[in-house]
């Protein structure tokens, strides 16, 4: 009798351990990747490389944040990648025209960025209205916008990045909170004056401003989803749309907000991209930003059926994919393996979700 009991409780313990592993599999996977890459890749395990990973993840974090909200409602947004290029090119174009027309650096940057953000709302509102009012399936509505925004973007930039922008852009976009020149100088936000170019390699940069930016945006998104009525209704719509309607939630309006938010975040990513690169990039066909964002969100525990997902999960999904990309690159592995790896991880994520449906 006693033996049997201990056997049962042992089995329950094992079950709990398996569930714990399943629940935190993405974290465990990230840790494993970091251990492997620290052996295979020279320079992987360093402050500058991690800051680099975080800096290059910024755009991707914003897009995954956008897609998280959409996927929780049971929808999908395929247009985020091209809305990003759309706002990049538009804001860069406005900055370029104003700057070359004699406006000051700061004025043209501020006006251009804000205009880019406002313009990015339009495709989102159209997506939302198509989906909520005209019942166009999200896949089709946003696929339409995928083409339209891309076409408009290419028309504006004629297939070339928009350049000749104020140098201040990259200065802001790639700045760090703190710069330290060992034994010599230290400064905030800008390179210490009097550092000769040949010494610049010794300069230690700490905490990229882009990280500060993404932390701010993601904290707001996390709060919105977790603690507010808006977030609660987002989950309810994804869980049972009829229940949401009958509970008196204005589902149509909510969906319009969701797709507008998604487009706004993509626009924010686009404007950030101008600051990061110093040019207005259109989104190339083979970038597949939207697909990688969807992959990150699904790896983070969301389900395309809706009702599930979280900002923290999506962040882990992005970091997993970015660490994988960076590690493979540093280890000198041919880039096409990255696609294979992403594919395998995505499938693992969905299998884990199917095996343990109550965990997430």
């Amino acid at each position: 009798m006693i033996l049997e009991n201990s056997e049962i409780s042992g089995r329950i313990d094992l079950q709990k351990k398996i569930e714990a592993v399943a629940k935190y599999w993405s974290l465990i996977f990230i840790a494993l990747l970091m251990i492997i890459f620290s052996f295979t890749g020279k320079g992987f395990l360093s402050l500058s490389n991690f800051q680099n990973i975080v800096h290059l993840s910024t755009v991707f974090l914003l897009l995954a944040g956008a897609e998280t909200f959409v996927i929780i409602t049971g929808g999908i947004d395929l247009s985020i990648g091209f809305i990003m290029g759309f706002s990049s090119v538009f804001s860069a174009k406005i900055i370029q025209v104003m700057y070359s027309g004699g406006a000051s650096e700061m004025v043209s940057i501020v006006v251009g960025s804000i205009s880019g953000l406002i313009l990015s709302l339009i495709p989102g509102i159209v997506n939302g209205i198509l989906i909520a009012k005209y019942r166009v399936p999200p896949f089709i509505a946003t696929l339409g916008m995928w083409g339209i925004t891309n076409g408009i973007t290419l028309k504006i930039c004629q297939g070339f990045p928009i350049s000749s922008l104020p140098p201040k852009l990259v200065e802001i976009g790639n700045s760090y909170l703190l710069y330290i020149m060992p034994h010599k100088a230290m400064s905030f936000f800008r390179i210490p004056p009097g550092v000769a170019d040949e010494n610049i390699r010794n300069l230690i940069r700490i905490f990229p401003s882009s990280l500060f930016f993404s932390i701010t945006v993601l904290t707001i998104l996390w709060h919105l989803l977790k603690n507010t009525k808006f977030g609660q209704h987002t989950y309810a719509i994804g869980g049972n749309m009829d229940a949401a309607i009958r509970a008196g939630i204005n589902v149509k309006r909510h969906l319009i907000y969701i797709y507008t938010l998604s487009a706004f975040l993509s626009g924010l990513a686009g404007v950030f991209n101008v600051f990061q690169t110093g040019i207005g990039n259109f989104t190339p066909y083979n970038a597949m930003y939207e697909l990688f964002a969807i992959a990150a969100v699904v790896i983070g525990g969301a389900s395309l059926m809706g009702g599930k997902g979280s900002i923290i999960g999506s962040i882990l999904g992005v970091l997993l994919l970015k660490i994988l990309e960076n590690g493979l690159q540093i280890s000198g592995i041919e880039p096409f393996y990255r696609f294979i790896a992403v594919g395998i991880i995505l499938i693992i994520a969905v299998i884990i979700d199917q095996l343990f449906p109550d965990l997430f």
Binding site: Q232, Y235, N240, G307
Partner: protein, 251 residues
């Protein structure tokens, strides 16, 4: 004393089909009325006009003696007319108290400016209403997905009751429940009735309707064909009315 809820000459058309044709009925406070009819008789359409899902094409609705205009579900809810649908309309991915408060979440301010969900309040209030209805659910933090059919029904009922329902519409409340759970739900209906709530029950299970309803209204093809006091009729007569045999004999 007048009816708590009364509908007069309510009509709803879908294209050429008249789903509900000139139906009138009244329900007193503390009374249970069973709404019976075969599939397609217009029962669901009738209650959906009362709960604000459909807009009537003709007729009037009176609530607490006043004529009311119910444009959407929120209008009905704010008057105290709650509906529990057959599919319960619960968000399975949310927990018990979130469902009870769905669409009417309680917020609190933190730091004096940011409004956030007040989980503690919603949880405590949900516990109170479940206690009042003598319903036991292991944890209110459990997602609906993890609950049994009867527990889900109980959550749906508590949600209506918490919001001071004066009038309750129940669509097939005992379908898809086990025997013990069916009894529990019918006990709950009697409890609500004793608290002065007016109730309309739609059910195909005559046994259930006979055990709780005071009056029966029978519909066929969109028309109200009969109204009976439960004690003065029997299942055979009612079945006859539902399928139409009885009227054929009478005419």
């Amino acid at each position: 004393m007048g009816y708590l809820l009364e509908v007069k000459n309510l009509t709803k058309r879908f294209g050429g089909l008249v789903a509900v044709n000139n139906v009138s009925l009244g329900v007193n406070a503390g009374e249970v009325v069973g709404l019976l009819g075969d599939n397609g008789a217009g029962k669901s359409t009738l209650i959906k006009m009362i709960s604000g899902v459909y807009k009537p094409d003709g007729g009037k609705i009176f609530f607490q003696g006043r004529e009311v205009n119910i444009e959407n579900p929120m209008d009905a809810l704010s008057m105290g007319i709650e509906t529990i649908y057959q599919d319960l309309a619960l968000a399975e991915n949310l927990n018990v108290y979130s469902n009870i408060f769905l669409g009417r979440e309680k917020l609190k301010k933190i730091l004096g400016l940011i409004k956030v969900l007040d989980h503690d309040y919603m949880m405590q209030e949900s516990e109170k209403v479940l206690k009042r209805l003598d319903i036991q659910i292991p944890s209110l933090k459990n997602k609906i997905r993890m609950l049994s059919g009867g527990q889900r029904q109980a959550v749906a009922i508590s949600r209506s009751i918490y919001w001071d329902a004066k009038f309750l519409i129940m669509d097939e409340p005992t379908a898809a429940l086990g025997i013990a759970e069916q009894k529990k739900v019918l006990d709950l209906v009697n409890l609500l009735k004793s608290q002065g709530i007016g109730i309309i029950i739609i059910s195909h299970q005559l046994h259930d309707v006979f055990s709780v309803a005071d009056r029966l209204v029978i519909m066929r093809r969109g028309v109200k064909v009969a109204e009976r006091i439960t004690k003065e009729t029997n299942p055979d007569e009612v079945v006859g009315l539902i399928v139409g045999a009885e009227t054929v004999e009478q005419t």
